[in-house]
Point group: C2
Chain length 285, copies 2
Amino acid sequence: MKVITSIREMTRFSENLRCQGRTIAFVPTMGYLHEGHLALMAEGKTKADHLVVSIFVNPAQFGPSEDFSTYPRAMEQDLEQCRTIGADTVFTPDSDIYPAGFQTYVELEKLPLHLCGLSRPVFFKGVATVVTKLFNIVNPHFALFGEKDYQQLAIIRQLVIDLNFDITVVGVPIVREPDGLAKSSRNKYLTQKERPHALLLYRSIQAAEKMVKDGEIDAQKIVDAATEILLSCPDITVDYVSICDPVTLDGVTSIQGKVLMAVAVWLGKTRLIDNRMLVVPHTPE
Amino acid sequence: MKVITSIREMTRFSENLRCQGRTIAFVPTMGYLHEGHLALMAEGKTKADHLVVSIFVNPAQFGPSEDFSTYPRAMEQDLEQCRTIGADTVFTPDSDIYPAGFQTYVELEKLPLHLCGLSRPVFFKGVATVVTKLFNIVNPHFALFGEKDYQQLAIIRQLVIDLNFDITVVGVPIVREPDGLAKSSRNKYLTQKERPHALLLYRSIQAAEKMVKDGEIDAQKIVDAATEILLSCPDITVDYVSICDPVTLDGVTSIQGKVLMAVAVWLGKTRLIDNRMLVVPHTPE
């Protein structure tokens, strides 16, 4: 496995691969890898000849009050996991991703005005910008993103169309702990006492799913029931419980066809998100 | 000469060229080509094996009160000029550059807050966005821009660094009419009565240049003298006369080393710009 730290070397290396007719799959990460990331990598390996994984904790996507400085890092462990799963190249750029004088940002006008974008105003600007940069550096044929960060995936899909990147974006299903908690690097923050309560996100989504299966189509009723489940734990603060269009992320009032159910909470000091597609039975997808 | 209208075909064509080891020079234009564009093309031909010229009047860089609908167009004539100068490929994308749902924009935080950016608030956002798109589609080794649009050139240089485009940006000197008026597609708008007055831009710059040569280092005095020359024509409204740092475009009060002198006026209904580098004599550059 090759480890590249220089932007210039990564660019040259990718161009050489492409000109040898080899295809590149790319998994951008912020490290502290878990089974969710490994699922992206495994899927990437089925898509292309060469798998590039980047590890870079992107300061531009953290707000001033957020956890950039404490975000968990474990480079040696991450490299070992990449090696084990068979990544071909790991790109770990140095701090020169944002050199002095940096001032160019990529922003979407509509998709960030929903869900996580409302409570994390700089987040998607930072994500869109760093992904644009990484796409230019790595120049992959395929880029893989987890469905856990559903809004991020929707934004990247739109960005790729809008900025004419010649890249196929692949969404990969959420990987869960045995009890159902969605895998996340931030789960590490949870105390032993908090960990069982974290399961309420998944429980609230399962409850919503059951309501839809049982014929409920009033989105507000489902949101209210899910919120009640979340608030059964006094340590949880709800950021949002949303039922929305899976492409535009606009809220829906009456559920038809396929809609996205997405939740975000604070559990103590830890922000957790989860989502699932709700499908009305007997409705053509 | 090849004419490509499809985005996908242009992307494939460029990738093939690159993989054959051929280098690509790119001149993005809005058409209505004049000698200024031809100078960019001629320079491009010296830089690379293959010259791609794009012709696309970019709606995103025109404000609602600006001249998008009346901007001069002459596709047949433009293609003939490209053929004569020896362009290899002309890319004339259809309207699918901004498909339904388009919402992703590239913006710089500082450089547009000067000069033309102040009176044309959407202009550089539109330029940065379309150039990012065209760079992704054409994927050139070199991109050529005229120094006449100095602020645009400065913005593209910064954008290329910030978004990690593997492209060398080349600035090409202003081409002038025999009497000194900078070549511009918008010169076509000038009436026979206005045309002689358009020369006042260049006169004001020449006067500034002479003042600096004669030892004046007070920027305000030079700006005042240049403004007086411009306002000697009652049909001229001054947008700005600026003496500024050539990299940051921040205004300077005392001239040292090399500074940019830039002017923009309305002459009747036509907006005209011009600029020149002023160099203090006997100062090491």
